[in-house]
Symmetry: C2
Subunit: 568 residues, 2 copies
């Protein structure tokens, strides 16, 4: 065995037929490029995460049937759900061996079922209790694990499992078995800096096992999860190489000669994948975010059958960055902005929105809300006069939400929301107003990071010979919702640098107010007030659309805060 | 040991101090009524389900501290999370023994952690591996299990666990130990007919164990879950008795003499709880639903600190029933209806809404949407003229959503949505329009059941000497969204009897189109079309507010369908 092909594919959840075709095609290319063995990502045939489709009548059986009838010319390992042994058992999360002219066989089923954060695998799967050993015709033996199975060994799981499948494989070797290499089928979701963690997992396994450890990862977005790809191999000496991120293709690895290259599926480009010994090569953080959100956004639309999007453009930084992201994801001809000035909109906001739309080359509709605003004011007059002033602010935001949805519905497009994570955390946003839309590209991006994205978008444009689309004035003016005269965000929020650092420590590190105050030196009363507002606004986040997950802790699938609970 | 008190309390998630006080108060009353032992529901000190609060820094420790310092005069068993043994372990879901003048002790931790439907317990807890034995000073031994622990034995779990704690307790007896009775601390969420299942679990355990099996259940709503109470005891001879549903109180059981009565906390009423041998006494199904939704609704508002609600009243049956439910939950002075006629509203709709509001005694605001509708039409003119006609219908619905939210925001009230489960399933509703609101009382109620609720509401009113609030015309006219001339629901949907039966078989029994057609004899093409529309509309349900869960399979927490997946 010399050449192993890791099939880094962008698979669609539920599209069994399409995924099977994509796998067959990739195996064929791998074969043409002299691969001896091809390996898919975890649950490749169903796409990951299949969620409740696994409970749909016949789904698991159809997955296995499709896997069993794949046409491949070389030995191939495919991730597939495995029907349960009895009616009273859950299915397995398995790896199937396909060898030409031999019967297909289940090599292993996942032992460690992550059930934290975005993972719900105990809900769907029954765990296996033994390691996977693949025996090839030439007598070679290969260890096979599935994603989380390899993570306990590196201690990189939030709480310990009682089993360590990497140790099991190591014992197999000690007991006289001889493994040439180990494979790991992964669907390992992205968040920023995840690749460092994944490299540690792979190196740790290779070191213990004393042979190469190869990990094939899914690429692309499925709902709120994004997969960066970056399939990889680690050798026991700590050397590694990995596939590029965000690209579909095949990582061809010569395990003996410690070399590899990546063939893209889109254009058959061959990309050299150099060996490295330290941490994996890191992109500029903001460029990385940009790539992650773009692929998540594009896939969400493609896999939903949506070609175009509509968004409100206020002249502020969030909508400017969202528009640029939409153009990156779908192309300028598929993005429509709407400028919806009101009595509180400043002239510079209107012209900033026009400038950005113009420089991005997208259509910009102008729909002043004044006549609707007047009609709404007179209809709601008695209530607004004596009521909470925030009600009047929300009316404007909701009229805009209605217009954006109106254009989207009329055109069969999807409205997107432009709010960021900091606003959502504080409830500094309007349900059914600026929160109206089917996807929230910045919903997991702190406000301070939105500014970094804006700079990166501009410099990317400039370096490809275009005009920077986001005006300097958009980036430097004080953030404002423009829903009341002279309003700025900082009337009711601390500076975003402060806010974001507090929220990040709370959400990602689980620190309480006291600990955050101790760590940052910030005023405990300020922190307590912010955390109280944070927990009070869970009901808004409950109704937010999916957002591509780029942080260690995002709102949405991995977030299960009670709503009607005692808040403190 | 003769008298055991089961503390059937309405606990608030996260309110450790308040829950501790409620428990102390109930134990005091139990003591005054000659109880020898008091038993709480599962996770009583934290309220159930605590969800991610368990991951909040210090939360579990504060729960245990509060439990350990409870003042009780009689031996008491309290459900509490238990801090993990190491930093790398999850907490336990435990039962704590409090005996005056002896140190508190963990009696057991839950072994079977349900992770299906609305349950996510593998996410939060580490399982124990041995049964709980409580040894009292007088030498008596009592078996202790927690909720799901007792369900494997009856086989009433969706997939088998490898352990059966009831069998473990039975072996303890066989090995020379002698158990006088067994206790089960439950937070067993309601759905219709759940009490039959729970009775089967209890009888099955009592029969195997050969001694009384006592189950204490939480009562009241927490988020979308409702708990019916109905704490119970089953004896080995199959006799049972149970506490009333939907009431806070103490079930005092004389285990030897097979008798019991229930003391309500609200008013200290004593309710006799007769023995029965067959299935538990069943309410009228529709009255049962009415009670369940009312308590869920009331608790959601109370526990969110909300006193009043606002809703749109169209003259249709959904909004009429929703208004009546709101009155039941919060009182007529806390409910405001809004009539928002448009150019498509019929006069009978307007007068039906007025009649119902009048008969319920609630305020009804009138806010015609015509002027806003005109302004929106002229603003969106170009788009609506050439676009999908549904866009124009949605505009009206969203203008109404904005008005309802405007009144709610101005008054510090909560808007509620009035849609039913059949509409949500089909997407026959408007995001940010009629779906705008913080709570959806009918979100888990099929349209056909809404009619039954209406009849029950009317007959309840009549039998208490009041006027039936829902007009006959509201109940008999063809359902219509009134968003286009002469529109009725059945222009685009089959009759609701047909639709509901198909959806119920699909959602609750997991049947696919072929199986449903075989079972019902309905046209396979019709069924396929409906199921396709059902799966296409997941993005709307993703953004729906919480709804009280009354069915075996509700949208919301227990529902994890992928959004951007291949739909078929």
């Amino acid at each position: 065995m010399t050449i192993v092909a890791l099939l880094q594919l962008d698979l669609t959840v539920g599209d069994i037929v399409g995924n099977a075709k994509a796998i067959e095609n990739a195996v064929r290319i791998a074969h043409e490029n002299d691969a001896d063995l091809a390996v898919s990502s975890e649950l490749a045939i169903s796409g990951y995460p299949p969620r409740d489709l696994l409970e749909k009548h016949g789904f698991v059986r159809r997955c296995l049937d499709a896997t069993n009838t794949l046409h491949t010319n070389i030995p191939t390992i495919i991730g597939s759900p495995i029907p349960p042994e009895t009616e009273r058992t859950k299915p397995g999360n398995g790896a199937i061996r396909i060898i030409p002219n031999r019967p297909t066989r289940v090599v292993t089923q996942k032992q460690l079922l992550p059930t934290y954060d975005v993972f719900d695998e105990e809900r769907y799967f029954h765990p296996d209790s033994k390691p996977g050993i693949l025996r090839l015709l030439n007598g070679q033996c290969i260890g096979v694990t599935i994603c989380e199975d390899a993570w306990q060994h590196a201690g990189l799981v939030p709480s310990d499992y009682s089993v360590d499948p990497i140790e099991q494989l190591a014992s197999f070797s000690l007991e006289g078995g001889s493994l040439q290499m180990s494979l790991n089928l992964s669907s390992s979701p992205y968040h920023i800096q995840k690749q460092e963690t994944r490299a540690e997992v792979a190196r740790c396994a290779a070191r213990t096992l004393g042979h190469p450890f190869l990990l094939c990862n899914q690429v692309g977005g499925n709902d709120d999860l994004i997969f960066d790809g970056r399939s990889l191999v680690a050798w026991p000496d700590g050397k590694m190489l990995q596939a590029p991120a965000w690209k579909e293709g095949i990582l061809l690895i010569d395990t003996e000669n410690q070399s590899g290259h990546f063939l893209t599926l889109n254009g058959n480009e061959s990309i050299d994948c150099p060996l490295f010994e330290g941490p994996p090569p890191v992109n500029n953080r903001s460029l990385e975010l940009l790539e992650a959100i773009t692929i998540g956004f594009r896939d969400y639309c493609n896999k939903s059958g949506l070609e175009s999007v509509v968004l409100g453009m206020s002249g502020g930084i969030d909508s400017a960055v969202s528009a640029a992201l939409a153009v990156r994801a779908l192309g300028k001809e598929n993005v429509t902005g709407i400028s919806m000035p009101s009595r509180h909109s400043s002239q510079h906001s209107i012209s900033d929105a026009e400038d950005t739309a113009d420089k991005l080359g997208i259509e910009l509709l102008s729909m002043p809300i004044e006549s609707m605003h007047d009609a709404a004011d007179s209809t709601l007059n008695d209530e607004l006069e004596k009521g909470n002033p925030v009600a009047a602010e929300n009316v404007q935001s909701r009229l805009r939400g209605m217009l954006v949805m109106g254009v989207a519905n009329a055109r069969g497009a999807m409205a997107i929301t432009t709010g960021n994570k900091s606003e959502l955390a504080m409830g500094y946003c309007t349900l059914y107003g600026d929160m109206a839309g089917g996807y929230s590209p910045l919903g997991d991006v702190w406000k301070t990071e939105v500014y970094e994205l804006a700079k990166t978008i501009n410099s990317e444009a400039v370096s490809s010979g275009n005009v920077a689309p986001i005006n300097e004035s958009t980036m430097t003016k004080p953030p404002s919702a423009e829903l009341a005269p002279e309003q700025t965000d900082q009337d009711s929020l601390p500076p975003y640098e402060v806010l974001d650092s507090i929220l990040q420590l709370h959400m990602e590190e689980g620190l309480d107010a006291e600990a955050i105050s101790g760590f940052t030196g910030l005023d405990i009363l300020l922190i307590r007030d912010l955390l109280r507002r944070f927990s009070m606004n869970e009901h808004k986040r409950w109704q937010m659309p999916p957002a591509p997950r780029v942080s260690q802790r995002a709102f949405g699938q991995g977030w299960r805060q009670p709503l009607a609970a005692k808040k403190d």
